[in-house]
């Protein structure tokens, strides 16, 4: 019988080695898998390449993972926000590498990586500093840049409801990059608010089919980043 459910967050992330490339779902706090990130902090894998739209907020979640010195390189579109202090400090000190990618290009690179497409052309960033070093090619009289697909060893993702086969549905704008990351990672680890029996999710409504998911852990009452920050929480 296929059963992708795990009972422990620690067990789910225990296979992540030093040097792994880890995609982390979420756009700001919406969809951020805080419990899985905190489990990765406890696990202690270092020298990671982390892929997320942002770089975390406050001293919890992704920001805490970075502050803990576990991230060597960030691939993201928007590494600053009103509550992001950790990344800017390390970046200015030269202690963390940044690959800045336009948001749509980041999404498409992840989608391509998951779909077995090594590269694609896009008009985004033509004529800007982010075009430097990239192959440019003309199609139908317009210039496009060649962008590489992006894949990962692991993805950490939060969803609303899952089943033991790894089928997922999400909540509102917490979906964002997560379905793409599930496709692009060799091993996708999901924290779900609820795990239901196969068949309880309507096949017409499933957003991420279980083939893209390897591990599911139930986290019924996930922490909310903005609440932790408002309370001045620091992890660990």
């Amino acid at each position: 019988m296929i059963d992708k459910t795990h009972t422990s967050l620690a067990g789910a992330v225990s296979a992540i080695p030093d040097g792994a490339v880890v995609m982390i779902g979420g756009f700001g706090e919406a969809g951020s898998p805080i419990e899985l990130i905190h489990a990765l902090i406890d696990h202690g894998a270092k020298n990671l390449t982390a892929i997320n739209n942002n770089t975390g907020n406050g001293d919890v979640g992704l920001a805490a993972l970075i502050r803990n010195g576990q991230v060597r390189k960030m691939i993201c579109s928007y590494p600053r926000s009103s509550h992001s202090r950790v990344f800017p400090e390390l970046y200015r000190k030269g202690e963390i590498e940044l690959e800045l990618v336009p948001q749509g290009t980041l999404a498409e690179r992840i989608r391509a990586g998951g779909a077995g497409i090594p590269a694609f052309y896009t008009a985004t960033a033509v004529g800007t500093p982010l075009a430097e070093g990239k192959e440019a090619r003309e199609f139908n009289g317009r210039t496009y840049l060649c962008e590489r697909g992006l894949s990962a060893d692991f993805a950490l993702v939060k969803c609303a409801v899952a089943d033991r086969l790894g089928n997922l549905i999400f909540n509102k704008t917490a979906r964002n990059f997560s379905p793409l990351m599930c496709m692009a990672a060799t091993t996708t680890i999901v924290q779900a608010r609820r795990i239901v029996a196969p068949g309880d999710l309507d096949p017409e409504h499933i957003i991420t089919p279980g083939i893209f998911v390897q591990n599911v852990v139930e986290v019924p009452e996930p922490l909310q980043e903005s609440v932790l920050i408002a309370n001045g929480e620091v992890y660990p």
Partner: protein, 216 residues
């Protein structure tokens, strides 16, 4: 009227931009003054708002009891969804942008040039943390790019320039600029005045644009 009060307010700039958005448009609004456009939809028109983090049919900020930290806009503010809204993942969201399905995007800017070049993501300062978000995708993919901006920066420097000195977001992408002093089109010949704000003269405007300005 003192010089400081001359021209359109932020609300009036947003309302003037809204007038130029056709009924039935799919619209993406940038952060800041562009967000105000949603408050000034002309009577009888329906716009559908896209936010690039995965929602078509974005509504106004929710009532306290309806707030959901997982229902936010691209500026990470709490929003609502209107009846008929749809959620989707980021690749679908940017397919709407890059595939030319969004009709109009309204953006703020640091600089806009007479050739339609836009610079609104970085000053290029050595100690700045570069952050681009979806701006480059929007200007490359959305069919019509409107800019709402004051003519001058807080320091009094012109934002409408011959060539952008800041790093570009996109080349030749802007169609029309809604400023506090005038509506200005980007044409093949450069900036062309469309409409002056009340009390503003062509000469007054031309002194605040750092490039040749064509009469209507």
């Amino acid at each position: 009227m003192s010089a400081a009060e001359l021209g359109w307010s932020r609300d009036q700039m947003a309302a003037r931009a809204a007038e130029d958005i056709p009924d039935g448009s799919y619209v993406n609004l940038g952060i800041g003054i562009p967000e105000l456009v949603a408050q000034f939809v002309p009577a009888g028109r329906e716009f559908i708002y896209h936010t690039e983090n995965g929602l078509l049919g974005m509504g106004p900020p929710p009532a306290k009891e309806d707030e959901d930290p997982e229902l936010i806009n691209a500026g990470k503010q709490l929003v609502s969804s209107v009846p008929g809204a749809a959620f989707f993942h980021h690749a679908d969201s940017f397919a709407m942008i890059r595939g030319g399905h969004i009709d109009i995007c309204v953006l703020g800017t640091m600089q806009v040039a007479a050739n339609g070049d836009l610079a609104n993501w970085s000053t290029g300062a050595p100690d700045a943390i570069p952050a681009v978000g979806g701006a480059m995708d929007l200007v490359a993919g959305v069919r019509t790019i409107f800019v709402i901006t004051k003519c001058l920066t807080r320091n009094g420097d012109p934002k409408l320039v011959e060539r952008c000195s800041y790093p570009l977001t996109g080349q030749g992408v802007v169609s029309r600029i809604f400023t506090d002093l005038a509506v200005i089109d980007i044409t093949g010949d450069g900036f062309r005045l469309v409409e002056l704000a009340p009390g503003v003269t062509f000469e007054y405007l031309a002194e605040r644009v750092d490039a040749p300005l064509l009469r209507p």
